[in-house]
């Protein structure tokens, strides 16, 4: 489905709203991950508001597409996208990580049954998505129109289980499976290519019989096109390597691995003092980095 200019503007605004809500939730929570959720906001927006075949009012609709978040720690962006799509009230985002909240620090189906999976320990999400795609293949064969989307981080590709799953997906020719790798090049201890080099990443996937698409993970048209292109490929699964900027949308947070596991207020203080981090982030997002003069405009 092609994106109209009108739709594109709508999606860009939605992505910004999703970023604002997740930052507000993280400020209130006082803990949690900032860089990954901001970096993946454009991809989650495109999925929830354009690509996914789903119905937020009927989360258990049997024919829906499935979205498996593997790196559970970026759940603020999943929760924010779900809330804005209408799965639950946006206001509830402010309960993130608190006792009794449906929005656990890492996603847990016991608390929020509409989640497709619970996640946190890295590298098992692609396996689960492969299992879902296999079930769909057993029931509907090699031409099923349903799609299973697996969202992965680049860091978790250092784990062997990721490649066990990639091998099986290629072997079973799962055309209904689409993995998205958040290629932001950072992980907790530093830059991926220093911690454990992953390149040449696309060659690795190709070697296991995957269709590989590389995109700018902040260009919504490119994101939507990649998901459409994946639908045209049969006989192999697709991986979209999305080049993203961790912390995207708040200039001072961008491409700095120290923002991986800290919320505004507890991040590195060399650019913004701790007590101003939340305020600065929200002001930048609300004014689209100064493109709009006032927050109220």
């Amino acid at each position: 489905m092609e994106i109209t200019d009108e739709k594109l503007i709508e999606l860009k605004e939605k992505a910004n709203d999703i970023r604002i809500s997740l930052i507000e939730a993280l400020i209130k929570a006082g803990s949690g991950h900032t860089a990954g959720p901001l970096g993946m906001a454009d991809i989650f927006t495109t999925l929830f508001f354009h690509t996914l075949n789903h119905d937020p009012k009927k989360p258990d609709w049997a024919e829906r597409d499935r979205l498996v978040l593997s790196n559970g720690h970026i759940c603020p962006v999943l929760y924010s996208a779900m809330a804005h799509a209408g799965y639950f009230p946006v206001e509830e985002l402010k309960t993130l990580r608190q006792f009794g909240s449906r929005l656990q620090g890492h996603p847990h189906r016991d608390f929020l049954p509409m989640l497709e999976t619970s996640s946190g320990p890295l590298a098992s999400g692609l396996s689960q998505a492969v299992g879902m795609a296999l079930a769909d293949k057993i029931d509907h064969g090699l031409t099923s129109k349903r799609r299973i989307y697996a969202l992965l981080s680049d860091g978790e590709l250092e784990s062997g289980q990721s490649w066990e799953a990639a091998m099986l997906g290629g072997k079973e020719r799962l055309h209904n499976l689409v993995a998205v790798v958040d290629r932001n090049n950072i992980q907790i201890d530093g830059y991926t290519e220093e911690v454990m080099p992953l390149e040449s990443l696309s060659d690795k996937w190709r070697a296991w019989n995957w269709n590989v698409i590389e995109i700018d993970g902040h260009n919504i048209e490119e994101i939507a096109d990649a998901f459409e292109q994946a639908k045209t490929v049969f006989g192999k699964p697709t991986v979209i390597i999305a080049h993203t900027i961790a912390g995207k949308g708040v200039e001072e947070f961008e491409q700095d691995y120290r923002w991986h596991g800290n919320p505004p207020g507890k991040g590195p203080t060399d650019k913004i003092p701790a007590d101003k981090q939340g305020e600065v982030a929200l002001a930048e997002l609300r004014t689209l980095g100064g493109k709009i003069k006032s927050e109220h405009q």
């Binding site: 499935r66 619970s118 098992s124 396996s127 299992g131 296999l134 079930a135 066990e164 099986l168």
Partner: protein
């Protein structure tokens, strides 16, 4: 005497008693489960014939997935299949599943509340010549500790078949512990089986000791009971086929009746079935307990019989434990 209500195999003490590997019962049970329920799928990590999943694979090739040597993927892929309504059975050696893939079982299956059935074959030292690397004697401990997990340890091939069929409908994760070697058939097709229910296989009028056994070693416990009877010592023997949920009512009843308990399992003493029994009795009805099992050691190569004897789980050791506990107050 053998409990007449359970319709047990009257020939179980004969020299030529029929012996069938426990895993064979799983293979036959899965085949039947596959015929009855179209949602049943089988996944195996390169041990299809060894774990007897080949029976299912040959009949239902479209519902069988060959995973290769990838046990972590095995557990999590099964979780994904279950999320779509399938009832996956995953098989490997117990050492590798649930051994190697424990965290994936905990998070993607149990924490996620997916009804995956984990079939660990070749459990215990009776794997024999393969040696200690392949002898899973910690698997009961690591599975029973996970919330939601049901842990079943059948005593023979017929009970394994019934347990496999019963596992299909629990709606929960299940760990099914199987042994490799040929095992004396103690039950019959008529013997009742229900997950979570212990059974008294050997009854006495005035039992002085209650022996609780699980898995193939139940046969050794029954042989011990027969031998002790001949020397004037009365015991009762319980088959604890389900280790979790634990049949606490039956265990407390036995403890009240006998005042002394011995547990028998082909597993580490620490954390195993005996520990589960002790946890319950310490809380509900404290009595002296002796534990038959592997005492904080790894296994080694040998014949199953040699190893059972060496690690103190044979008839001689059980009789010795009975005599010891009779002296305890």
């Amino acid at each position: 005497m053998l409990n007449p209500n359970l319709k047990l195999n009257e020939k179980m003490f004969d020299k030529d008693v029929e012996q069938i590997p426990i895993r064979q019962g799983f293979g036959e049970g899965l085949l039947e489960a596959g015929e009855k329920n179209l949602q049943v799928v089988g996944l195996c990590a390169d041990l299809t014939e060894s774990t007897k999943m080949n029976l299912f694979k040959d009949k239902f090739p479209n519902r069988f997935i060959q995973m290769g040597v990838a046990e972590q993927n095995l557990a999590s892929v099964a979780s994904g299949l279950a999320a779509m309504g399938k009832i996956p059975f995953i098989s490997s050696y117990a050492m590798f599943s649930p051994g190697r893939n424990w965290e994936q079982i905990r998070t993607t299956i149990c924490y996620n509340n997916r009804p995956v059935k984990i079939v660990g074959s070749h459990a215990g030292v009776s794997v024999g010549p393969d040696g200690g690397t392949h002898q899973a004697i910690e698997d009961i401990a690591i599975t029973r500790v996970i919330p939601r997990m049901v842990v079943i340890s059948p005593c023979d091939s017929l009970e394994a078949k019934k347990a496999t069929l019963a596992s299909v409908d629990t709606g929960t994760p299940v760990y099914l512990r199987l042994a490799r070697e040929k095992t004396p058939v103690m039950t019959t097709t008529e013997t009742p089986f229900k997950i979570g229910e212990a059974q008294i296989f050997w009854q006495s009028t005035k039992p002085q000791v209650g022996i609780i056994a699980t898995g193939a070693l139940l046969h050794k416990a029954l042989l011990s009971a027969k031998q002790l009877e001949a020397s004037g010592i009365e015991v009762e023997v319980m088959n604890l086929g389900t280790i979790k949920p634990l049949d606490e009512k039956a265990i407390v009843t036995l403890a009240k009746k006998t005042g002394k308990i011995i547990t028998v399992e082909e597993h580490q003493i620490r954390g195993g079935m005996g520990s589960a029994v002790a946890e319950s009795l310490a809380k509900n009805y404290p009595v002296p307990i002796e534990f038959i099992g592997v005492d904080d050691q790894f296994g080694q190569s040998g014949t199953p019989e040699e190893l059972i004897e060496y690690y103190g789980m044979g008839v001689g050791s059980i009789v010795k434990a009975v005599n010891k506990i009779l002296k305890r107050q």
